[in-house]
């Protein structure tokens, strides 16, 4: 038992909790004192406390990592999230598989941001760091794991809890020091490189929303109603970029790993970050317009607060267990719902009260906002973004609404419709169109003083170009009516921003970040339009049979049944299932299941013969190597006119943590479209095999005959000295026949054994050719005619049911993401420079 490391970790947790409170208090003191000497003393105290706090957070991370890395399975965290077989790079992912670790990650980023702010924001340090200190205290309390004695309330859930305290198992009564030999392991779905970088990116995005929030609260508190925006804006931009990137990484992971056929499924967990991101983008726009418009300043204050509150709300939704059945991937309840609710209500309430108290003092004017001003367009755009988020927020909150109604004695059984995608898209598409039209138009007002006369002149060219491009697109792609508006808006935002970009670059390229980001958004919209709107199922069943009479003809048969080595046609392709494959751990490639022999250790197998993959030798016969036993890949070959177009390896994973069975797609990528295929149902290996009727043949050596329509030849029959699993003695005789069977793609050997033990007892060991679904038994030997009789059986061949989709021009979406990020980067650079220059 390694008690020390866990105790040390727990000490770090408590230290981090206490020091952040001390730091917040000292900053509060420093802020309220005017005497310079004692102010500096308090500041010094506060900084030291925050440094100690950050060091303690670092200490928690290190100790927890040691526990995972050293496989100390006496700790619940290591037992529940790791195992001896887990590859090193995924040990990092163990951190955020559990709730405690993801709180830790969040705290870690915020501590880091706090340190940066202490060193760069002297003027704002004290009030901003009060907010930081309080938020850190709430987060640290989530992993405290101490019981308050007189109230008997458990505060937080510690990652350093011992297994025997976390699980009730009789073994701990008998053997309190019992340590399991191996852990439960990391959910195999998360053993993916995207899951190493996606959560840290997302949590960095979460942490970054605290910065503008802290500045905003500090500004209201210190009565610097407009001054807070300048230092906060660059951080909002960083937050917008990082959070956006995190969301898209999640989408990309889903596209590659889950098999719902896309990158976005409107799952509550996805919505819970999508909504704050939309509002964050709205807040960035209003923050940029604050100088000339009080309306923009007031909305910036409201929106910046809202973003942070929404982040807390989404934390509550995904971690309190309230989503329950509504989401596939929310965390399970750790008994923290009460604490999470207090966290949410505390900051919502405090910020709301502060804003209300100070509202009258925020400068305002009676100047009317003109439709020709840039602020007007910014304002409209921000409003649309907020409504767009609001529409997603309501259905996502259905479980909360149901709960609240229940608490007040009513009954509410609202649920999101089964066709989530259609339900949300129907609304979101029109918001996206509006946002694109507004931002395409708003750009002109942003850069030029407009009046009635100029408007027509400015807009005529981009409108004409858009119409021409739109017409070309319509004639080429044959657009569906519902996407008419989206395609127009997408082209329009790109065209108008290209025009703006061209003129801005001439003046000052540094200012062109906005235009570039908007072009990125346009590309993203077009990419979504094509990949979602023109996605077509290519695995349509074309046998022409009516499957179920009651169901009628309204059903498309989207799935295709493939028997091993039997070619079928699918859309424009010929498709063939070539067998089940296994993935070796240390080499890239796939190994045929029939080429390996299992050992007692599920992670190790022995090669039956030399193993080749794409002409390269991976292993020699008799080699022992490591595999991932939970994954099976199905080799699917697509060809056109007898030329192989693509070989796909969709995966099926046996994953008890996720309900037993997870299918992951394989994607064949090309510049213009992705071909996406996944297994919908694998063969049940445990089902009883029906070998059908037995056929008997009598053949001589070298004679050709048929086994279930395959050509077979009896090559030889020879005496053998050893039979696996049976000991031969004295007069025992064993002979083995060798029959060559010509399969569709390969030839196989069936080698049945005939055995006479102790002169009288006869034994027959049949031989199976799995790929062909046949079984051969050597029944008898007829020395008089030199003939041998065999029993032949055939079963249904191995099969798999797959679904395949074509996703055209999905690369435009990924390209758009890249362009968007470049635009964000340019805008960030500009705003950080402005902040620096303003400070000098």
């Amino acid at each position: 038992m390694h008690y020390f490391v866990g105790d040390l970790g727990h000490l770090f947790v408590i230290t981090s909790f206490v020091t952040t409170l001390v730091s917040a208090f000292a900053y509060l003191k420093a802020n309220s004192i005017t005497d310079l000497v004692s102010k500096n003393a308090w500041l010094q105290n506060a900084r030291v406390s925050f440094y100690v706090h950050s060091a303690a957070v670092g200490g928690i991370v290190v100790t927890l990592f040691i526990i995972i890395y050293q496989h100390y399975f006496e700790y619940h965290y290591a037992y529940a999230h790791s195992s001896l077989h887990l590859p090193g790079q995924y040990m990092i992912s163990c951190f955020w598989e559990g709730q405690e670790g993801s709180f830790l990650l969040w705290m870690f980023w915020q501590a880091l941001l706090g340190l940066i702010l202490i060193h760069t924001q002297r003027a704002w340090e004290a009030p901003v760091m009060v907010v930081f200190g309080l938020v850190q205290a709430f987060l640290a309390s989530m992993i405290l794991g101490i019981v308050i004695p007189w109230l008997n309330i458990k505060l937080g859930s510690s990652p350093f809890i011992l297994l025997r305290d976390a699980m009730e198992d009789p073994i701990f009564k008998l053997q309190p020091d019992f340590i399991p030999k191996d852990g439960n392991g990391l959910n195999p779905l998360l053993q993916n490189y995207w899951m190493v970088i996606h959560p840290p990116t997302l949590f960095l995005g979460f942490a970054l929303t605290l910065v503008p929030f802290a500045f905003c609260v500090a500004g209201l508190w210190q009565r610097k109603y407009a001054e807070w925006i300048k230092p906060a804006l660059p951080w909002s931009l960083v937050g917008g970029a990082i959070l956006g990137l995190g969301i898209l990484m999640g989408g990309y992971w889903a596209y590659e790993t889950l098999s719902f056929g896309g990158y976005w499924n409107w799952d509550p967990v996805e919505n819970a970050v999508y909504v704050p991101w939309l509002v964050l983008i709205a807040s960035i726009h209003t923050m940029m317009a604050y100088k000339n418009s009080e309306a923009a300043l007031k909305s910036a204050i409201i929106l910046v607060i809202t973003v942070f509150v929404l982040i807390l709300y989404s934390t509550f939704l995904t971690r309190s267990g309230i989503l329950g059945d509504a989401s596939v991937h929310s965390f399970t309840d750790l008994g923290l719902s009460g604490q999470l609710l207090i966290y949410l209500l505390f900051f919502t309430g405090a910020a709301f009260v502060l804003a209300v108290v100070r509202w009258k003092e925020i400068p305002s004017s009676n100047k009317e906002i003109s439709p020709y001003s840039r602020e007007f367009w910014i304002f409209l755009g921000a409003t649309t973004l907020c409504l767009m988020g609001f529409q997603v927020l309501i259905p996502t909150s259905f479980p909360v609404i149901n709960k609240v109604v229940e608490i007040f004695g009513g009954t509410s059984k609202l649920a999101v419709p089964g066709n989530q995608l259609e339900f949300y898209s129907r609304f979101q598409i029109w918001f996206a169109v509006t946002v694109a039209l507004l931002s395409g138009t708003g750009q002109f007002f942003w850069w030029k003083k407009m009046n009635k006369e100029k408007v027509l002149k400015e807009f005529i060219t981009p409108l004409l170009v858009t119409l021409i491009l739109w017409a070309i697109l319509l004639s080429v792609a044959g657009l569906k009516p519902i996407y008419l508006a989206l395609s127009f808006a997408g082209i329009y935002i790109i065209v108008s921003n290209v025009k703006v970009l061209a003129s801005v670059v001439k003046v000052n390229p540094r200012l062109s970040g906005g235009a570039v980001a908007h072009i990125g958004i346009g590309l993203v919209l077009i990419g979504i339009l094509f990949s979602a709107g023109y996605s077509k199922i290519v695995s349509l069943n074309n046998t022409g049979l009516v499957y179920i009479k009651e169901a009628g003809t309204e059903f498309n048969r989207d799935n295709l049944l493939l028997f091993l080595n039997e070619r079928r046609t699918m859309a424009d392709y010929d498709i063939e299932f070539l067998g089940e494959r296994i993935e070796p751990r240390n080499k890239s490639g796939y190994v045929k299941k029939s080429d390996i022999e299992r050992t007692a250790d599920p992670y190790r197998v022995v090669a039956k013969k030399d193993i080749l993959f794409k002409g390269k030798k991976l292993y020699s016969a008799k080699d022992t190597f490591e595999i991932y036993p939970e994954n099976t890949f199905y080799e699917i070959e697509l060809s056109k006119n007898n030329k192989v177009k693509a070989t796909l390896f969709p995966r099926v994973q046996i994953n008890p943590a996720m309900g037993g069975f997870i299918a992951s797609p394989d994607i064949s990528r090309s510049l213009t479209s992705d071909l996406y295929s996944h297994v919908s149902a694998p063969m049940d290996a445990s089902a009883e095999v029906d070998w059908g009727k037995t056929e008997e043949v009598r053949v001589t050596i070298g004679q050709k005959f048929y086994i279930n329509d395959y050509v077979a030849t009896l090559d030889e029959v020879k005496r053998i000295d050893r039979v696996p699993g049976i000991e031969l003695q004295g007069e025992d005789v064993a002979v083995q026949a060798r029959i060559k069977v010509e399969g569709e793609r390969d030839s196989y050997y069936a080698e049945p054994i005939f055995l006479i033990k102790g002169r009288t007892q006869v034994g027959r060991i049949p031989s199976e050719v799995n790929d062909l679904g046949i079984k051969v038994t050597l029944l008898n030997i007829h020395p008089d005619t030199n003939e041998f009789s065999f029993a032949l059986n055939a079963r249904q061949k191995d099969w798999v049911i797959i679904k395949a989709m074509e996703k055209p021009y999905i690369n435009i979406l990924w390209l758009g993401t890249g362009v968007l990020m470049i635009g964000f980067g340019m805008a960030m650079r500009r705003r950080f420079r402005e902040f620096k220059i303003g400070n000098q």
Binding site: A415, I548, G659
Partner: protein
Amino acid sequence: MKTSHIIAILVIAAAIGIIIATAGDASTYVNFDQAYQMASTGNTTSIHVVGELRKDEKGNIAGLEKGADNLSFSFDLVDDHGKTRKVFYNEPMPPDFLRSEKVVVIGSFHGEQFVARKILLKCPSKYQEQKLNAGV
């Protein structure tokens, strides 16, 4: 009236519109009788029904029928009020289907048969902490 007031009114109107439209489209949890009634009045929106698979006296799952080529299947579902109905699903059977404790079907009645557009499963392993593999 000022432009900003007009905008404010429009925003409020849009927000109310969104709430009404969203709530109108929302699905609800019902039992088979309610679902049947809805369908017979011409309302074919998707609704959620929660239930368990029908089992015979020996505890085996009964009423399961696979479609041709395993591409679809139908089964008997017993809802919370004990009513049993046939449910048809136009997708291959999910591999953990038979192990599930609770099944949520989302769809509507087409005649006497409930046609599911989507099935959600609640499997025991997903919700219970695994037993300690103490022997290892």
